[in-house]
Amino acid sequence: MKKKRMIQSVGLAVMFLILGILFVFPLYWTVLTSFKTSAQVFVEKPILFMDTLYLDNYIEIFQKSHVLTFFKNSLLTAGGTTLLSLLLASMAGFGLCRYGFKGKKALQNSILIIRMIPALVYTIPYYIIYNKMHLLDTLTGLTMSYISFALPMAIWLALSFFLDIPQEIYESAEIDGCSEFKMYTRIALPLVKAGLAVIAILVFVGAWNEFGLALVLQSSDAKKTLPIGIASMVQTHKDTPSGSLAAAGVLAMIPAVILSMATQKYIVKGTMAGAVKG
């Protein structure tokens, strides 16, 4: 019995090790490449370990491209999208959870349907509308479009988290004379904190990595986001600057990694929420 368990444990450990390598190795390779010189990147025998880390690529992206501006723009749009989406989604989710009204189901389903339409379909209409509204090449316009894409998913997640709160809690609060707004801010929101962290991560990462809309809506270097900035480093009929791309990629990872690590506790709670009813 013990032997069987040990074999199982070893088997699992090996499987996790393989999976771990599969996930971690590309990250390791990216970080490693970012510290290589251009002569070290394309060699017949790949360099897996290095004696000296060269900062050339980091120096290059800071000196020769507007990477800090792109980083700042990404942070502003992804941050703004996350905050506003959280606010709107939590309000909408709370409303849909608490109030019954005619057409509620249809409204909920229509939010879901919007989510199913590929973002690419909206891109050209956004471009034309934004051109008329003078919102092209503005961070406000980009943030607005990101919010509109993030909201359906955020509302559905928020709704499911609010539905997990036992009805009795709302009823006790009502008996104690709590207004609906206070019920939202003082009772419901603290109880779905973990869920909100999950929504925040998903929305932030989605906006942080978004490429297609930013490509079409932004044009000047002062308003471009990091994914567009990174894509701009690749030129046709010229060698791909793999080292610089890796360095920019490492920079791009940092906020998402920090956010994930800082809210790890909530993510576990949030993803578990709703798993057990009652």
Binding site: L32, T37, S232
Partner: protein, 495 residues
């Protein structure tokens, strides 16, 4: 308390990062000599630009005076006002120009301050990543009409012309160009192929591109290698000029054919990402004639296909998986004696760490039918500033304008520019480049509006099938011709 926890987590992230970095090296962090050089260069550029900015704050009169005495490649740029047709009269007008990120952005941005100074106009440059460039330009030309000047690969530009998205330029030249703007000075093949489409002048050549032969100069000049070649073939080893010579030299330098070859392969090329048709053109094949009829299923086409199959024997087996980076690196690592490529390969060969640095020569692609690439400049039909847009194109493509763009890898399009000794000396490619332009006729992208990329895919598919042996060259060409006829017929261009 909560703040402490957050701080702990942040600390944990930083520690993880440091551990990762530590595990990556276990020792030092450094800046390579190469980067030190470029950083000094950047500092110099920055200092220069600060100086330029400071100078710009001085009065307009002295600025103009100063710009009149710009010297590039030993030539004084004395006609930056385009024969007096630019004198600040466009003040208040704005031009919006899309450019591809990278060298195009740098080259166009470099002329903008001078043009703004001379014309009084404001120029807004919008840089777009290369892969998405054409899509975004097309989006604007169809919908929002913000762009005034269109810089684009020639075949794409010709498609825009057929769709009426860019303006015919003859009238513009006749009405607005300075008297010394000489279109006859453009390399003739280049101006006719790039500029004219459907009988109208729709573009001015901006960046020429042609496929070249890169060869290992050190091997071709090696006495023992030359003697071995002489012994084997009874002729002198020289840089091949004909297809037959090329195939023979490639065989000689291939280890599987010649054990004593100093390199593994005689030939390599990038074959991934739609590049096989370039090899077909280089070997004498064609795609369409001037009436947009398929022109590949003929004796020249069959010969070109057979030459490809012969060269394949002297190339690495994995060449069909080689894209730009892989193929260039393969050559730069010293694995092949010859490679046909766009001029950009030169930078890879001369880069630090290249095994062939200072060992590479450049020549016209053997057979003298090199594939022609390149970019042109046009005016968007919907532009509200057409006159100003023309003046910008005229400025960029004038004799003086050409000298302003060269240092950003935009090679000259004018014969007179190539004649300047300092320009000739600035690049080891120019001699072969200029000669190649005289021979090149077939554009890299099939020059049929709307379906250019589709027809390129058709060619790629059939050539690759012939290369992997699933079709004979004749069958491949016949299939290609049939699909071309159907696709072009479906366009209904005659209507």
């Amino acid at each position: 308390m909560k703040k402490n926890k957050l701080m702990k987590k942040l600390l944990a992230v930083v520690c993880c990062g440091m551990m990762l970095t530590g595990s990556l090296s276990g020792c030092g962090v450094a800046v390579s000599d190469e980067a030190k050089g470029s950083s000094t260069e950047t500092e110099n550029v920055q200092t220069e630009s600060v100086q330029a900015e400071n100078e710009q704050t001085e009065n307009t009169e002295s600025e103009v005076k100063q710009s009149e005495t710009i010297v590039k490649y030993g030539t004084e740029l004395a006609n930056l006002d385009l024969d007096g047709t630019l004198h600040g009269q466009y003040e208040g007008q704005t031009l919006t120009i899309p450019v591809m990120s990278g060298d195009f952005e740098k080259a166009v941005s470099a002329v903008v301050p001078v043009f703004e100074q001379m014309s009084g106009a404001k120029v807004v440059i919008e840089s777009i990543p290369g892969e998405q460039y054409t899509d975004k330009v097309q989006l604007d030309l169809n919908n929002t009409h913000r762009y005034d000047v269109v810089l684009s690969p020639i075949a794409i530009l010709h498609g825009f012309a057929i769709a009426g998205k860019v303006e015919p330029l003859e009238e513009m030249i006749n009405t607005y160009a300075g008297e010394s703007y000489n279109v006859d000075d453009f390399l003739p093949g280049l101006f006719n192929t790039y500029g004219y489409y459907d009988g109208k002048l729709v573009a001015i050549p901006y960046k020429p591109d042609v496929m070249l032969l890169f060869y290992r100069k050190d091997l071709f000049e090696d006495e023992s290698v030359k003697a071995a070649y002489q012994e084997k073939y009874g002729t002198e080893l020289k840089v091949p000029e004909t297809n037959e010579e090329m195939i023979q030299v490639a065989q000689f330098f291939t280890k599987s054919e010649n054990q004593d070859s100093p390199v593994d392969y005689g030939y390599c090329a990038m074959m991934l990402k739609g590049s096989t048709r370039l090899l077909f053109f280089n070997r004498g094949g064609d795609d369409i004639d001037e009436n947009l009829n398929p022109n590949m299923n003929n004796a020249e086409g069959v010969a070109a296909m057979n030459r490809i199959l012969e060269l394949q024997k002297s190339a690495p087996k994995e060449w069909v998986q080689m894209g730009w980076d892989e193929a260039n690196q393969f050559f730069a690592n010293g694995n092949a004696a010859m490679m046909e490529q766009w001029p950009g390969l030169w930078l890879t060969c001369q880069a630090d760490g290249s095994a062939v640095k200072d060992k590479v020569g450049v020549a016209v692609a053997p057979g003298k039918t090199p594939t022609l690439g390149g970019w042109g400049a046009s005016i968007a039909t919907e532009s509200k500033n057409k006159e100003l847009a023309w003046k910008f194109i005229e400025f960029m493509t004038s004799r003086d304008g050409e000298l302003l763009k060269i240092e950003n890898t935009m090679d000259p399009c004018r014969a007179s520019t190539y004649e300047i000794p300092e320009v000739q000396a600035s690049s080891e490619l120019y001699e072969a480049l200029m000669e190649s332009f005289n021979y090149a006729k077939t554009l890299a992208d099939v020059d049929v509006p709307y379906i250019s990329s589709k027809l390129c895919d058709v060619m790629e598919s059939y050539i690759q099938q012939a290369m992997d042996g699933s079709m004979t060259p004749e069958e491949a060409l016949e299939g290609m011709e049939k699909e071309f006829t159907t696709e072009i017929g479906n366009l209904g261009l005659e209507d």
